[in-house]
């Protein structure tokens, strides 16, 4: 069955890149935005400015990563619901393919594309970015994979319950974007109003941001075990729920 998984993953990558906005939307645009914002912030503020340094060195990479992960999840939600509506999932199920193989293939596609986009970002950053960045890239990549995995499972849960493909994108955005808002990505959780701070504590993305920022800054994994545990918990709960309520047609 491994052969089927690999073939399906590869075919899905090719199909995705053939979409009119596929490669451009998910890979080129984030890299462009990253470069433009990086340049503007880097130039507009004196090089010694602490705010600029902190944003460029920590905020921006994490922001970019989270946005990429979230857009990957949104596109996963949309694809799954389109496949369900078109009977593609059902057709695939009428083969010896195991259901989880089909789902794993889609998750793998998203992980690969996320990783590719990120690699491009790092390359682009190295080449053009004014500020020297010395982040532990391997650890950060692992942290980002854990994060993406966890958010993908939320995506799966959404994909399992959205009624039609038309609602998939808006519902997904409606759930995920507010999460980004309170996650500490734009405003530190500590300076949020109390109500939102409470909300931030139950939103999985908060832990993702905390983990990503920490690892990027070079903190130890041991300092972020709670974040990892929270993300794993989200993954386990969402996956379990999704497998219960998932509809093939």
């Amino acid at each position: 069955m491994l052969r089927g998984l690999w073939k399906l993953t590869w075919v899905e990558i090719k199909i995705f890149l053939r979409e009119p906005l596929g490669a451009f939307g998910t890979i080129v645009i984030p890299v462009l935005v990253f470069l433009v914002v990086g340049r503007l912030v880097g130039r507009g503020l004196p090089a010694s400015s602490l705010a600029a340094d902190s944003f460029v060195q920590v905020g921006l990479p994490v922001l970019a990563s989270v946005l990429i992960a979230v857009s990957a999840v949104l596109s996963l939600v949309t694809i799954i619901s389109i496949y369900r509506e078109g009977g593609i999932l059902k057709r695939l199920r009428a083969t010896p393919l195991r259901p989880h193989t089909i789902l794993t293939a889609h998750v793998t596609v998203k992980l690969i594309l996320t990783a590719a986009t990120l690699a491009l970002l790092v390359l682009a950053g190295k080449r053009y970015y004014p500020v020297g960045v010395h982040a532990p890239l391997l650890s950060f990549t692992i942290a980002l994979l854990i994060t993406t995995w966890s958010i993908l499972s939320i995506g799966f849960l959404i994909a399992s319950i959205v009624p039609t493909a038309r609602f998939a994108q808006p519902i997904g955005a409606f759930i995920l974007y507010p999460m980004i808002g309170v996650s500490g990505l734009f405003v530190p959780v500590a300076s949020l109003p109390p109500v939102l701070r409470g909300l931030a504590r139950v939103v999985p993305l908060t832990y993702a941001v905390s983990l990503l920022e920490g690892i990027w800054k070079g903190e130890e994994w041991s300092a972020h075990m709670i974040d990892v545990a929270a993300l794993v918990l989200v993954f386990v709960v969402c996956t379990a729920l999704a497998t219960k309520v998932f509809r093939w047609e």
Partner: protein, 305 residues
């Protein structure tokens, strides 16, 4: 030889709606078996229970000696399936779909390229699925259903929405499948399709099977009426026709006569009468009942309603 498919007392409901009440039948090796009935009669539900895609509420099913529910993956490996109104990824290429399907089966798959050639898809092998015509899509789905050299092929409403020419081409393909020694199980609401393709048919309505047999036997059993239509200006003809054994009714319009009777001997009897009395005719044809009439008789309404 034990039957390839055994369905016994199967019932399936969706919430309060009972799609299949009670269905029992067998499919033998090497035959084309058709489940025929109007839309919503329970054809697809029955078929999908047999394919292992749905679980019946009651009853038992055995396909190739396997339980479609418990041994679904073992079964999927040995059967080929074409689903009603299925789609593939819009931008998957024809050869990619074939290549992907080849990789899904444990069994050694047959040569995909040759299959494409047989189905007339070779020049479309690089085309995206979304750019294929309806007939080409159906042929691709047949190719995917045959890719693992299956022992049983399931075809659900194979030619719905196709033009007559594509339909005929696909009928030939289905006959080819049988020639290769495969068993074919198909559903259709087209009586002509059932009549031309199927060795045996089961008529299903409201989730119940009304009758099962060879199409010609069903016609013989339920619709023994025969009609001979002929034209003659011979003044004594009508009287002679009424005297033919087995004739029940003679309807005359101008010079045209419709001779109604029962049984296969009616036509011979009419011809005999014509030659015996030297009656000259300018037109002669027979109207024989078909499955459509059988369906009308058994259900009280046409299959198209």
């Amino acid at each position: 030889m034990p039957p390839i498919i055994q369905v016994s007392g199967v019932r399936k409901s969706y919430g309060a709606t009972v799609a299949v009440h009670e269905v029992t039948f067998e499919v033998n090796e090497g035959e084309i078996f058709g489940l025929i009935g109007p839309n919503g009669a329970g054809k697809t539900t029955t078929m999908e229970c047999i394919e292992g895609l749905r679980t019946p509420d009651r009853g038992s099913i055995s396909v190739l000696g396997l339980d479609p529910f418990k041994d679904v993956y073992k079964l999927q490996d040995r059967i080929g399936v074409q689903l009603q109104q299925a789609q593939l990824q819009k931008r998957i290429k024809v050869w990619e779909a074939v290549d992907l399907w080849v990789s899904l089966y444990q069994k050694k798959a047959i040569d995909g390229e040759r299959l494409l050639e047989q189905l007339g898809l070779t020049d479309k092998r690089g085309a995206w699925f979304m750019n294929l015509s309806g007939g080409q899509k159906q042929r691709l789905f047949i190719a995917l259903a045959l890719i693992n050299d299956p022992e049983v092929v399931f075809l659900d409403e194979l030619t719905t929405g196709l033009d007559p020419q594509s339909r005929r081409a696909i009928w030939d393909l289905v006959r080819d499948i049988r020639e290769r020694g495969k068993t074919v199980f198909l559903t259709t609401h087209l009586m002509e399709e059932a009549e031309r393709l199927c060795d045996r048919v089961a008529i299903i309505e409201h989730g119940r099977i009304i009758d099962i047999d060879r199409p010609e036997n069903l016609v013989k059993r339920h619709c023994p009426e025969r009609t001979v239509v002929l034209a003659t200006d011979n003044p004594i003809a009508e009287e002679r026709f009424r005297a033919i054994p087995g004739v029940e009714k003679v309807v005359r319009t101008d010079l045209q006569f419709s001779i109604l009777g029962r049984g296969d001997d009616l036509v011979t009897a009419v011809i005999h009468c014509l030659s015996e009395h030297g009656i000259r005719v300018t037109d002669f044809r027979t109207i024989l009942p078909n499955l459509e009439d059988v369906f009308l008789k058994l259900t009280g309404h046409s299959i198209r309603e």
